[in-house]
Amino acid sequence: MGRYIIRRLLQSIPVLLGATLLIFTIVFALPGDPIAALAGEKQSNPNLVAILRERYHLNDPLLLQYWHYISGVLFRGDLGINFSEVPVSQLLAGKFQVTLNLALTALIIEALVGVGLGLWAALRRGKATDTMILASTLLLISVPTLVSGFILQYILGVKLKQWTGADIFPIAGIANGLRSYLLPGFVLAGVSIAYLTRLTRTSLAETLRADFIRTATAKGLSRRRVVGRHALRNALIPLITFLGADLGNLMGGAVITERIFNLPGIGLQLFDSVYLREQPVVVGIVTILVLIYIVANLAVDLMYAVLDPRIRYE
């Protein structure tokens, strides 16, 4: 068990190194001079550009630049600085927190609503409730985050406050603590809720037809116990897989939600930094995202063992 975890973590080292090199190369290959672009549309002072290029090692060949970066990270724990001289570690610490809050809020909403609706639909299979739930998930899938975000923000943020005077759902920013994340979390979770509902419905409906469920019912167990203990637990395995993989997706794909709700998270930062070609920032963010994928996948694999005692890791 312990060995298994250590082996999995060791395996992630080459993955991380490979990912950083790959991202570093991709950002390197983007066209244009990032320093000259700092001046916007005015002619940049060639002197200044030369000095800054020197300072950020931009005249060196790719591998040497990568070495400058990776040696800083490995030997000094220094993630480098961006072009406005803010240390990347400081830049990311706060933003990472914001995105993690957002993604976990979304994940919790998604798990509760998605599994709940799926369960309900599966138990009422073929009835009106089932059809309605399926139809509404279709709606959730087809409305893009951009649209649902702006509409919900306008109705629940602006209009609700104008009508009631109470600031229930903050429109923008993170100044209201965890309450700030409720609306953006829901918007971010939207599409996943729909998928999870459908997944739960199918998975549970299938399990409910299994032999051991008939046995459990025949044994005289209550409906609640049959569904909760026997059916749901077995149906959970694909759902956990989905949720685990989705955490990474939510964190990396929160750009639009972060923009709509003005949350200073890593999604927006990644977008800006790719544009500005700030390699240390881009690589830093991607590394963290890769780490999260690895840890989330590991947690999912371990959850299998919790849910299904037949699965053992040696």
Binding site: I51, L100, I171, A172, I260, L302, V306
Partner: protein, 546 residues
């Protein structure tokens, strides 16, 4: 229930760790409102994220300038007639437009209590001009004698730390010698780059510290409550400085800049009264702002201008002035300003913007839409049958460039196509590499509010190498008129020469002016008397709480 205990523990720990990590942020974020609010609700102002740390000499964009404008008092501000008037300076005089004497007003102190002395200006300007400090606003000091010594060029060591043309005669007098006469020097001094720096700004190595850049100590109306950590903080909180000698706001003392990444989101916050002043409404918000905010919506000229650039140096086909006139007359500026930009732009009819002294309405005759005349002129001059219009795809220019291309197609009967480039710099690179020779989008935002700033940096011969003269236009007479304007003894006289220079541009159309920017702002019911000045900053002392 048989579950491997190890797996249960590990999975549980992982989940717990994530949950704890999430909660940590929530708690610390709560601090934001408490610190900003206190007993008094601050006046809340919209801001985009400043590009760099808040150091005046390294701030050349509007957002950082807006924040610094609240913390610092400039040497000059601008009156209703768009002329520079002394603010932190008592007087700014020169007999020959070359040696300038700046007397400082007494009574100004830094937010840490120290008095402001002339040496503070000298230190700040020398620091800004020195190439080793790589300050983005360093070029503002290029006219001061001794700038060249601080900028010997790439890889060469700087042997001095000071410009010889810059001297503090005593604590309240500053003497500045320029390399050549320049009548607009006083007008320049209102800009962010010319703010002074206190002793506390510099670290032991003589560089401005990061700590200072996070919480600049100024000599202006507002003092920063706490450091602003770029990238993490969403607000910049300020309080009126008690010892500020100038006018203070009547009935409030707290100001808060709220940082937004999207101006439409800020507009929603304004509608919900979570924000008080918003000075960068986007075209999509205009119609709703007009109807919802009514008299709280303001629309005024902004000093920016948008052109279609002509690569004279790279494309000899466009050297015939009639071709450029024909292109200019074929552009339906009114429709572009009103439809494509929802009225957030005005049709351009001069090279000088209406926000600045020296603008003449309708000066550019060839800027009037006249498709019939355009076609005749174009055919007679034998203009090229195909034209490309390059634009940078990162700045919302696609729509209007395509509208222009459409105008040219229909009115001139030629093959005109819009061509996207990823960044503005890529257009210039391709022009220089002779890979591209079509027209290009160009815009200009002023560095200081003088008519001269629409001419010298973009069209003078000297600006081909060091300025923004990307088309490579060169005209001796134009250069001479600029020099005369720079040497003129009075503002009126210099303006006369600049307008003559402007006339040459209007005659020759090295670029084709298309639109002037407008500034669209709105404010909430919590405040009144909100005015935006020439530098797009709010006149804070005038703002009152309703």
């Amino acid at each position: 229930m048989r579950v491997t205990k190890g797996a249960q523990i590990v999975a549980g720990t992982a989940l717990l760790a994530l949950a704890v990590a999430a909660c940590g942020g929530g708690a610390s974020d709560n601090g934001g409102t408490a610190a900003g609010g206190g007993a008094e609700t601050p006046v809340r102002m919209e801001l985009g994220e400043p590009q760099a740390l808040l150091v005046p000499s390294n701030t050349t964009e509007t957002e950082g300038s807006e924040a610094l404008g609240a913390v610092f008092e400039p040497l000059v501000t601008y009156d209703e007639n768009k002329n520079a008037v002394e603010a932190a300076a008592e007087s700014i005089t020169s007999d020959d437009q070359k040696t300038w004497t700046i007397k400082l007003k007494s009574g100004y102190t830094w937010h840490n209590g120290e008095p402001v002395v002339a040496q503070n200006y000298v230190d700040a300007w020398n620091y800004a001009a020195n190439q080793e400090n790589a300050q983005s606003a360093g070029y503002f000091f290029g006219r001061i004698d001794g700038y060249a010594d601080l900028n010997p060029g790439e890889g060469k060591p700087v042997t001095t730390k000071t410009m010889k043309g810059l001297k503090a005669v005593d604590d309240s007098t500053l003497e500045v010698t320029l390399t050549a006469p320049f009548s607009q020097f006083k007008t320049m001094l209102g800009y962010t780059a010319f703010y002074p720096l206190p002793k506390a700004a510099f670290g032991p190595d003589g560089k401005v510290t990061q700590q200072y850049g996070e919480q600049p100590i100024g000599q202006g109306l507002f003092k920063m409550d706490k450091p602003y950590r770029k990238g993490t903080d969403q607000t910049i909180d300020l309080t009126v400085y008690d010892k500020f000698p100038g006018t203070k706001p009547k009935n409030w003392t707290k100001l808060q800049f709220k940082i937004y990444t999207d101006t439409d989101v800020a507009f929603n916050d304004l509608l919900a009264n979570n924000l008080d002043i918003h000075d960068s409404l986007s075209p999509s918000a205009i119609s709703q702002a007009k109807s919802t905010l009514a008299e709280r919506y303001q629309d005024q000229p902004d000093a920016g201008i948008g052109y279609i650039g002509v690569p004279l140096k790279y494309n000899p086909e466009l050297n015939n002035v009639d071709i450029r006139k024909a292109i200019s007359m074929a552009i339906d500026r009114k429709t572009i300003a009103e439809t494509v930009f929802s009225g957030t732009r005005a049709p351009a009819d001069d090279f000088i913007n209406p926000a600045i002294a020296g603008y003449r309405q309708g000066a550019c005759k060839a800027c009037t839409y006249n498709p019939a005349e355009a076609k005749k002129l174009y055919d007679a001059a034998g203009g090229p049958k195909t034209l490309e219009l390059g634009y940078n795809a990162d700045g919302g220019h696609k729509e209007w460039i395509e509208a222009v291309a459409n105008n040219l197609r229909q009115n001139l009967g030629i093959e005109a196509t819009a061509k996207p480039f990823e960044k503005f710099a890529s257009i210039l690179d391709d022009l220089k590499a002779k890979k591209y020779k079509g027209l290009f989008r160009m815009g200009w935002a002023i560095d200081y509010p003088s008519a001269e700033n629409y001419l010298t940096p973009i069209f003078s011969t000297g600006a081909i190498a060091t300025g923004s003269n990307y088309g490579g236009y060169s005209n001796k007479k134009f250069d001479e008129l600029l020099a005369k304007g720079d040497q003129a003894a009075t503002t009126e006289e210099s303006l006369k020469f600049y307008q003559q220079a402007d006339d040459i541009l209007i005659e020759e159309l090295p670029y084709i002016p298309v639109y002037f920017y407008r500034n669209n702002s709105g404010y909430s019911t919590n405040v009144k008397n909100v005015k935006v000045n020439l530098l797009n900053q709010i006149e804070w002392a005038d703002v009152e709480k309703a």
